[in-house]
């Protein structure tokens, strides 16, 4: 998935990493709390819209395309395997009988939308909270973990680039993972990963030596990036926290939740209340952007 980042001049780009992490924590929890198709659909579409606002429609469409294929697979498997409840459509071919149940379609769609929402929330998180922000956040409590996280993010990226190059160039050594029987492909993929690992370890050793040569590991590290907690962060966190408490309360009362999959998907007035609050949670960054612009000189 392509790495996309918000512009630092926007409201989210100016937020304190802790405020961002708290907001995204609430957002991810919210996504897990509700299983009503109205709410999950709203989360998914709202997050797609939010991503488009920050990263541009073209960049987001590339991500959504791959997410849609995953969502389609989940929907298809549910339609194939879930035959509970009322049948919407039946098909018989000789002795083979197949039916598409209403529950299969709706439950599959709910699960797909929930997963899609989760992925889009992660895309937004990835674009808003940079590695250096995470490091700055973790550094005071777990400096080694903070540095390890930064290195891991960089090396995963290098790993992917290296894998792509190997995929291309190892063909000159007779190692092709895209042709032949599946068993052969699996063996070849294993061989490719072995080469990838060997090469990466070799380079990582060299990098580690060069890190030491620049004083890494010598003494307690200081920190360059310091983020100041501002009034805007307090306001953002309080509003987001308040909404989260409301959402939790609604969830405790059983609003926006379908306890019985056979009752899918009657939309009650209570669900609309949850949808309203969920829209505010998803739209909070946009409200922040609006207020941030209003405050411009």
């Amino acid at each position: 998935m392509q790495l996309i980042e918000t512009q630092s001049s926007q409201f989210l780009g100016q937020c304190h990493p802790l405020a961002l992490v708290l907001y995204f924590g609430e957002l991810f929890t919210g996504l897990l709390l509700f299983n009503h198709i109205l709410i999950t659909g709203l989360f998914f579409l709202g997050l797609c819209g939010l991503c488009c606002w920050y990263f541009g429609g073209r960049a987001v469409w590339r991500v959504v395309r791959s997410v849609l294929s995953l969502m389609g697979l989940i929907l298809f498997l549910n339609i194939l395997l879930n035959r509970a409840g009322v049948s919407w459509w039946q098909f018989t071919l000789g002795t083979w009988h197949w039916e598409v149940s209403r529950v299969g379609v709706l439950y599959g769609a709910t699960m797909a939308l929930s997963l899609g929402g989760m992925v889009m929330a992660f895309v937004l998180f990835n674009g808003c909270v940079t590695a250096s922000q995470l490091r700055a956040l973790l550094n005071p409590v777990a400096p080694r973990l903070a540095m390890l996280l930064t290195l891991a993010i960089r090396f995963v990226n290098l790993f992917i680039q290296q894998f792509r190059r190997l995929l291309l160039l190892q063909r000159t050594r007779g190692l092709v993972v895209t042709a032949g029987p599946w068993r052969h492909r699996l063996t070849e993929t294993g061989n490719l990963l072995r080469v990838l690992l060997l090469g990466s370890i070799s380079r990582a050793m060299e990098t580690a030596i060069l890190m030491e040569a620049r004083g890494y590991g010598g003494r307690h590290r200081s920190q360059y990036q310091h983020y100041r907690w501002r009034l805007a962060d307090t306001s953002f966190t309080l509003v987001a926290g308040g909404m989260f408490v409301v959402i939790l309360g609604l969830r405790v009362h059983g609003w926006g939740v379908t306890p019985n999959i056979y009752s899918l998907p009657g939309v009650l007035a209570t669900d609309w209340w949850v949808a309203g609050v969920a829209s505010l949670v998803v739209g909070l960054p946009l409200i922040g952007e609006g207020l941030y612009r209003l405050c411009q000189n």
């Binding site: 940079t130 290296q162 160039l169 030596i209 060069l210 890190m211 620049r214 990036q225 310091h226």
Partner: protein, 552 residues
């Protein structure tokens, strides 16, 4: 000037090695030195450099002492070592660890505990000095090799070291970028007074900046003299004569060695004018080579990476059997992409590439390996992590005529890899990895050889060996398409030349015509003599008519 570092009777032997990599080396480095270490691959240059920084000292048996301002370097703390002895590696990609330029610069300062209030000033100073201020927030993965190497240099300079160690820092850069990097180094040396010690094969650009030349041979220090004295010693030494850059070498070859050897074209021209020497072309210079039927046909090929501007734009070209075409061009011009398309590894969006009559990306991979040999820009990506001998043996099994163990041993000798035959390919030096990559491309006996920077990291003597080896294959009918920044090598061995620019190739011309009509992308001797002899490319192309101050 005062002594900054010293090595006294340093002998170093790698584990399981039967002879020392460094043998009784005595060296004194003064604080105003710009020192260049030169020597053949395996002569001990990198091992010597690594002895100068405690964190870099490899595993092995070490005797003798290495001191920094009278203290053993082993007694320097990690912070002291980082703040006094800086190091820049050969491969620009290996050093960085952070995501953006500013984070990379801050990383060094954070390591040594510089306060948060002290960091911005130091970063601002070094970023402005090296011209990185406009790319401070750029992700490192978006930088070119040259920019990345500058960031590596900056991330060391930000610690205010007294001495900088550089191991062939321009080996991965194109000539223009390499020159820019060296200019920055000169600025660092002259304006900041930082001592510089670097190993390098390409001496033509670096020697005018240096004041001392250290010559290594088989682990021993042959000389540590002024540049002029060092050059004269090298020119008299059979195995090191090829290291002498083209301009001073021309004066040696033509017996014009007066008090000094010129290092630049301008100085060379002035000396020639003063000595009033006339030259004429040798009669054997303009030899004609013949070529066979078309082998590889490229018709209307266009290629672009995902959502990006075209890298290749409607390329039409035919490569005849037995031709050797050198493609010159800057980094990022599309040379490597073109070679990968020609190798059938990438399918262009438009156009066709035919090997004989077959479309190349439709050929079975096993057939393709027998027909086309590819040396990629990073040969390490073609390795499978075995020993040199095992890699060559495995590749030969995929070729037209699988070879036996004796033949593999012959190949090892041909490629000067016998000494490292049983070492893992990932443990070799850059130059040795390049030779293994070349061996992998050749051992299948292909009809078409595609070579991406084949001389990268090779010392001048090995380049000659590689050039002659490839020439025998070309003469036997192998077609060679080579992307290269190495103008001297291309002019010496290629039969034809072309430029890759703006996604297209300029018309392919016979090498002599191509290089003698180029203004900048031509040999040093051509640039030296063009006002007298337009056809000359090398010192062997000309002979003297006579001269007033002839000392030869």
């Amino acid at each position: 000037m005062s002594e900054l570092m010293s090595l006294k009777q340093v002998t170093f032997t790698y584990p399981a090695a039967n002879r020392p990599a460094l043998d009784g080396v005595d060296l004194h480095i003064a604080s105003d030195d710009f020192m260049v270490i030169v020597g053949a691959t395996g002569s001990g240059k990198t091992t010597l450099l690594r002895q100068l920084k405690p964190e870099l000292v490899p595993a092995g048996d070490l005797t003798g002492t290495v001191q920094y301002q009278g203290r053993s370097i082993q007694k320097l703390s990690a912070t002291e070592s980082a703040q006094t002895i800086g190091v820049v590696a050969q491969d620009p990609v290996v050093q960085p660890v952070m995501a953006t330029v500013i984070e990379e610069l801050a990383f060094s300062l954070e390591n040594v505990g510089v306060s948060a209030s002290g960091m911005p000033g130091r970063i601002a100073e070094i970023a402005n000095f090296l011209g990185l201020d406009q790319i401070l927030h750029t992700p490192l993965q978006q930088l070119s090799g040259g920019q990345l190497q500058l960031v590596n240099l900056a991330s060391v300079l930000v610690l205010h070291p007294a001495i900088l160690l550089l191991d062939e820092p321009t080996a991965q850069l194109d000539p223009t970028t390499a020159q820019n990097f060296l200019n920055v180094l000169q600025q660092v040396h002259r304006e900041l007074g930082i001592t510089i010690v670097m190993s390098e094969h390409r001496l033509d650009r670096i020697l005018p900046l240096a004041n001392r030349l250290v010559i290594m041979e088989d682990g021993a220090l042959l000389a540590a003299e002024s540049v002029a004295t060092g050059l004269r010693l090298m020119s008299q030494h059979d195995e090191l004569a090829s290291f002498v850059p083209a301009i001073p070498n021309f004066f040696v070859q033509q017996h014009l060695t007066g008090n000094q050897l010129p290092l630049t074209v301008a100085t060379g021209r002035r000396m020639l004018s003063q000595q009033d020497v006339l030259f004429k072309l040798r009669s054997s210079t303009l030899s004609v080579k013949t070529f066979g039927a078309p082998l590889l046909t490229v018709a209307g090929v266009s290629f672009h990476y995902d959502q990006q501007a075209p890298t290749l734009r409607t390329i039409d070209i035919t490569f005849a059997t037995g031709i050797w075409v050198a493609i010159l061009g800057k980094n990022g011009a599309g040379k490597s992409t073109l070679l990968s398309v020609l190798a059938g590894l990438r399918k262009p969006q438009h156009g066709k590439v035919r090997l004989g009559k077959q479309i190349i990306w439709k050929m079975k991979n096993s057939v393709l390996i027998r027909q086309v040999g590819l040396l990629s820009q990073h040969p390490i990506d073609q390795f499978t992590g075995l020993t040199v001998r095992e890699e060559l043996t495995a590749q030969s099994q995929l070729g037209n005529e699988p070879v036996n163990a004796t033949a593999v041993t012959d190949w090892l000798a041909k490629l000067q890899l016998t000494a490292v035959a049983d070492q893992n390919v990932f443990d070799l030096s850059g130059g040795q990895q390049q030779l293994v990559g070349l061996g992998l491309a050749l051992i299948t006996r292909p009809r078409l050889l595609l070579l991406d920077e084949p001389t990268k990291g090779l010392d001048p003597a090995t380049k000659q060996v590689v050039g002659r080896l490839l020439e025998t294959y070309r003469a036997a009918g192998v077609t060679i398409v080579m992307a290269s920044h190495d103008v001297e090598f291309s002019a010496q061995f290629a039969t034809h030349g072309t430029f890759m620019f703006d996604g297209q190739l300029t018309p392919v011309q016979p090498a002599r015509k191509f290089f003698t009509t180029n203004f900048m992308a031509t040999t040093a001797v051509s640039r030296l003599l063009r006002q007298w002899l337009q056809q000359a490319l090398f010192s062997t192309d000309v002979e003297r008519k006579g001269g007033a101050n002839d000392q030869g």
